[in-house]
């Protein structure tokens, strides 16, 4: 920890190439914050970050229970990866836009987006903000800087670049953040994003969440065994960082750097967040078929919540009691929210067939009106 330098915010890409191959880490083995990336991190942000991570984990556990109870068909956890979305969100501002994957619930749970609405989306019930049209967890909230999630991998990486180009075209200072998984970097739209980021240098941060697995495929199947994913940026004339994604302080520090760089007009940054997918890919997945059980229980890189907690306790900013209490509070919050959400229906009950025909276009064209009428809804 602490050994990687922190370049100036406007450092030339060519002058910081080694940061694509090393790893930014702030917390050392003893939980101390060390090195240049440890500087200037606001304690309040760290404490709030811990709380948000606890909230995310409480949410994930509760939603898993819902799925096991047959109240939703599908869920995806981000266990072990909480620091990344939560830490990154802490560096963003109102008006910035994320183009997230399905494993970035932490972005939304770090805001005041109503958790009941999130659960209603998962239950596809009568209060589902997306009217039952989307698979559970595919949230959308423009107001909260969370672009509609797509089921198609990689497509949104380039959209983030486009959004940032628009911001630049309008002389705006808002920034965009693209999100992609290690496996999905193989998708061709990853390249589209890098090329366009290279040519137009828009204010975008391109985040690769390298959790080592893509369903059953190890990162090597995406070409990430001997080269790092961050090194993909080396041929595109913009900088890359490789960061310990389970070290909240490193995440927050690197995010701040890249977000500020973008906002001040110095262009895009690619960040590889090194982490580990502790959970199965989704509730439809059984990882025991393809990876040794010990691997996930060993929890490579450590539990990000535990690491931050220990750090904060060592600095007297936190305590075991507050930890226990906070966990209980969020469990209660989520339990209550779940209860409320369930009152609007579960597993699609409450979704209306009428809603099926709306919003395909801004104005319903005659053929859809005809189809709806024929169905009698």
């Amino acid at each position: 920890a602490g050994s990687v330098r922190r370049p100036e915010i406007d450092c030339d890409a060519a002058d910081m190439k080694e940061l694509a191959s090393t790893m930014v880490r702030v917390l050392n083995k003893d939980g101390e914050a060390v090195g240049p990336w440890a500087e200037g991190l606001d304690d309040d942000v760290l404490v709030q970050g811990l709380k948000n991570m606890i909230r995310v984990r409480a949410y994930d556990e509760r939603m898993m229970t819902l799925q096991r109870q047959g109240k939703t068909s599908f869920y995806m956890k981000c266990t072990g990866e909480e620091a990344i979305a939560v830490g990154f969100r802490a560096a963003m501002q109102q008006g910035d836009m994320n183009f997230p994957t399905y494993r970035q619930q932490g972005l939304l749970l770090s805001t005041d987006y109503p958790v009941v609405d999130m659960i209603c989306q998962i239950l596809s019930n009568s209060r589902d903000p997306l009217k039952g049209r989307q698979l559970p967890i595919m949230y959308s909230s423009k107001e909260h800087g969370f672009f509609s999630i797509s089921g198609n991998l990689g497509t949104q990486f380039i959209q983030a670049v486009g959004w940032a180009m628009a911001s630049a075209i309008k002389g705006d200072t808002k920034i965009a953040a693209g999100w992609i998984g290690d496996g999905s970097t193989a998708e061709t739209d990853f390249h589209a994003a890098l090329v366009n980021a290279s040519v137009y240098k828009p204010p975008v941060v391109l985040n690769i969440v390298n959790n080592q697995w893509a369903i059953s495929s190890f990162r090597g199947i995406a070409g990430g065994d001997h080269a790092t994913f961050a090194e993909r940026a080396l041929g595109y004339d913009f900088p890359a960082l490789r960061v310990d994604g389970n070290d909240f302080l490193a995440v927050y520090a690197a995010s701040k750097w890249a977000v500020e760089r973008a906002r001040r007009g110095f262009g895009p940054t690619l960040i590889e967040w090194v982490t580990y997918r502790v959970a199965p890919h989704s509730t439809s997945d059984d990882p025991s078929q393809y990876r040794p059980k010990e691997e996930s229980s060993a929890w490579p890189l450590g539990d990000p919540i535990l690491r931050l907690k220990n750090h904060l306790i060592s600095r007297d900013l936190w305590s075991e009691e507050r930890q226990t209490q906070t966990e209980a509070e969020y469990n209660d919050e989520i339990r209550a929210a779940t209860k409320e959400a369930e009152s609007y229906g579960v597993m699609g009950s409450g979704a209306s067939p009428k809603d099926m025909f709306d919003d395909v276009y801004e104005v319903m064209p005659p053929h859809l009106r005809e189809q709806r009428q024929k169905l009698g809804v």
Binding site: M97, F99, P129, L130, K131, R133, Q134, M138, S140, S141, K142, F147, S148, S150, G151, N152, T155, Q156, I158, Q159, A160, V161, G162, W163, A164, M165, A166, S167, A168, I169, K170, A176, T188, D189, H191, A192, A193, V195, N196, V199, D359, V360, Y361, E362, P365, P366, H367
Partner: protein, 338 residues
């Protein structure tokens, strides 16, 4: 009124919209400095600056993908895919993203983008500069598909497309860029400057998306067609003397069913005519709808005259192309059907 070619009319539509609305941006391969390989964006960069009119990397997926992002931000991109034959790398972005965005986000985000792309054969361009892939888009819920056949419509429809809040695929029949084309490639080319549809008003006007036009009235048979084939139909009508009613669909999705039904109910006969490959072409949809909606008025089967189910061959271009002779033969045959 100014006389414009289709290229000029298309350029003028963008010019009008860019002048009115700062959120309209224009880009694509060779679109900026050079002004496009067909010159449709010529002069726009000079007028509106490099931030609003620019060159793209050769990456169709990126052209559409960035446009979706810009649309989500609040811009109104009008982008060019250099040839419709090269739209396939962007197909995923169009189908999975642009088309679905409004629906899946419950209107939280939309993609008000216009994708201009030249289509069709007749310029000796071979398999990869001649295709008409419109039916690959009409199957996709959430996009609109527009294809003008003349300068007047081109300008009005392009302005309407840019103003539309849904994604529009705007096909430009490249054989018509410089003049109407009756399908007789062996005769001298004619020019829009001598055609009434080359009269294009200055400034802002729209031709509504979703409305067909009766290009030529008639009572014996209805010909449903669009783009380049409108003028081929007209030529076949003249040459056979069959009193065909030629309907220029102009918009394929949403389709102007009323105009179609009214005409077919009147004539009792219907030909569907397009340049695209027959099987699963848009003609299949037209034929199906006509027989669903006008069944008991039909005196003869709905006939499809289309490109063959082969790639668009280079040397055999004019054998592939459904020219006036083939259309005429089919017209006569269907008038004989009892």
């Amino acid at each position: 009124m100014p006389q414009m070619s289709m290229i000029e009319a298309i350029r003028d539509a963008m010019d009008v919209k860019m002048g009115q609305d700062d959120d309209v941006v224009v880009y694509g391969e060779d679109v900026g400095y050079f002004g496009g390989v067909f010159r449709c964006t010529h002069g726009l960069q000079k007028k509106y600056g490099k931030h609003r009119v620019f060159d793209s990397p050769i990456n169709e997926s990126g052209i559409v993908g960035t446009a979706i992002g810009m649309g989500a931000y609040g811009l109104r991109p009008c982008i060019e895919i250099q040839f419709a034959d090269y739209i396939y790398p962007a197909y995923d972005q169009i189908v999975s993203e642009a088309a679905r965005l409004r629906y899946r986000s419950n209107k939280d985000f939309t993609a008000p983008i216009t994708i201009r792309t030249p289509c069709g054969g007749g310029i000796f361009g071979g398999q990869t500069h001649s295709q008409s892939p419109e039916s690959l888009f009409t199957h996709v819920s959430g996009v609109k598909t527009v294809i003008p056949s003349n300068p007047y419509d081109a300008k009005g429809l392009l302005i309407a497309s840019i103003e539309d809040n849904d994604p529009v695929i705007f096909f430009e029949p490249k054989r018509l860029y410089n003049g109407p084309f009756d399908g007789h490639h062996d005769r001298p080319a004619s020019n829009w400057s001598k055609h009434p549809l080359g009269d294009v008003p200055e400034g802002h006007y729209t031709v509504p998306i979703g409305k067909a036009s009766v290009f030529s009235e008639g009572k014996d048979v209805t010909i449903l067609t669009y783009g380049t084939m409108v003028f081929v139909a007209e030529a076949a009508k003249k040459e056979t003397g069959i009193d065909a009613e030629i309907i220029d669909l102009r918009t394929l999705m949403p389709l102007d069913v009323d105009t179609i039904v009214e005409s077919v109910k009147k004539t009792g006969r219907c030909m569907v005519l397009h340049e695209a490959t027959l099987t699963s072409g848009f003609g299949a949809e037209l034929s199906a709808q006509v027989q669903e909606r006008c069944f008991y008025h039909l005196e003869a089967p709905v006939v499809r005259v289309c490109g063959f189910d082969t790639p668009y061959p280079h040397a055999q271009e004019w054998d592939y192309f459904p020219g006036p002779a083939r259309v005429g033969r089919e017209l006569k045959a269907m008038m004989e059907a009892v």
